[in-house]
Symmetry: C2
Subunit: 231 residues, 2 copies
């Protein structure tokens, strides 16, 4: 999965592919809502999502949660943060997940290979671009656009790692998760999604989303995949 993602930027030499595959092997299972690392902790390992979805989030005193990033299979949660001495946010699973705890040494091993290093840089910059786009979403787009935009993004990112089958993909986030990612409430999210379903844009059933009208969804969300810098 990681190999596939990194090759989204450009092909890797065979030896590099093997190295990455080896380092990303294994992992442990976690149920939904388990913290992988908590705010205030000192980061030791780097974490890679192999299957399932996870998130970066912060809690504020009113008790509500803001999700800052959604991680899909192949994503590193905290590749770059280990320079700082404590986490200023937490990382948690959203669904059942397989997570690899990768020692820093493994990261340095990867960084020694120029092709991998470049791909990791690319992945990091795309993560930032995604964060910026989320800010635009939340700051300036109404709920309907916001939700459609996020769904488009996840659709494209899932495609990039080969997890879309036809027009549908595995999707187990709750509507509350989506709300927390977009600065909305679960109620608003529900109303918009019901609307999208009535309009025949989406289908959502047994832990799957089918995008029946990708073009329509894209138009509603004013989505362009430019910021994902796919090649």
């Amino acid at each position: 999965m990681l190999v596939r993602k990194l090759e989204g930027f450009g092909p890797l030499p065979e030896a590099d592919r093997k190295l990455v595959a080896r380092l990303a092997d294994g992992g442990r299972q976690l149920p939904p809502r388990s913290d992988i690392i908590t705010e205030g902790q000192n980061p030791e390992n780097v974490h890679l999502i192999v299957s399932g979805m996870a998130c970066r989030y912060k809690l504020i005193d009113s008790g509500c949660r803001q999700i800052l990033a959604i991680f899909l299979p192949g994503d590193f949660c905290d590749l770059h943060v280990f320079i700082l001495d404590h986490m200023d946010h937490s990382i948690s699973t959203l669904t059942d997940c397989t997570v690899v705890d990768m020692p820093r040494s493994a990261v340095f091993q990867m960084l020694e290979r120029p092709a991998i290093a470049k791909a990791l840089w690319w992945a990091t910059l795309v993560d930032e671009a995604v964060l910026r786009e989320r800010l635009v979403d939340i700051g300036r787009r109404p709920a309907r656009e916001r939700i459609s935009h996020l769904l488009c993004e996840i659709y494209v990112r899932m495609q990039a790692v080969g997890l879309v089958d036809g027009q549908s993909f595995d999707f187990r986030l709750t509507q509350t998760d989506i709300a927390d990612a977009l600065g909305l409430t679960n109620v608003s999210v529900n109303k918009v999604i019901m609307e999208l379903r009535r309009d025949g844009v989406l289908e959502a059933s047994n832990a799957h989303i089918s995008v029946l009208k990708p073009d329509a969804l894209q138009a509603i969300g004013k989505f362009s995949d430019d910021y994902l810098h796919l090649t």
Copy 2:
């Protein structure tokens, strides 16, 4: 200014200080609202703000602007982005600015010095943390909190580069700029700021802000400087 900022992370050897000071020397003057680099362009140089304030922003089709980051003196605008082949956002001045266009070679020169390299990494990670905090602001905090939080942040960041005199600092952003940074309208911003003034928390006159009651402002904005990772 840049030296001062980088030493916020830890002291630099004398030779490093000189190198940084030399590379950050000079610069050109720009009036407010001039694009430094525009979405779609291919980034060549790296840009350093020496004086004034600038921003990273995106325009959406409805014509409105979302400011993604505010740059103060000593900040790099795009230290890391030059790997990607085109900008997915623009960078523009907000006030009169002095900007240094630094060739990539200068960046590589700095990265060869371990102490500078580490400080640059630190600065980059703090920039990301600021972006995340902005997302929390916009996603989950009401206008009054949001604005107070941003003002606290700017206050602390200005302090870190020695630009706060007593409790006041040079501040030439328009209320519309603040609105665009926080996903609000200029009208709401105005109403909140008038309120803060009536409450004696702030004073704003001839291009300066004085924070009369820093503790109160901090309390209103639920501000903690933790995420700025100052040492």
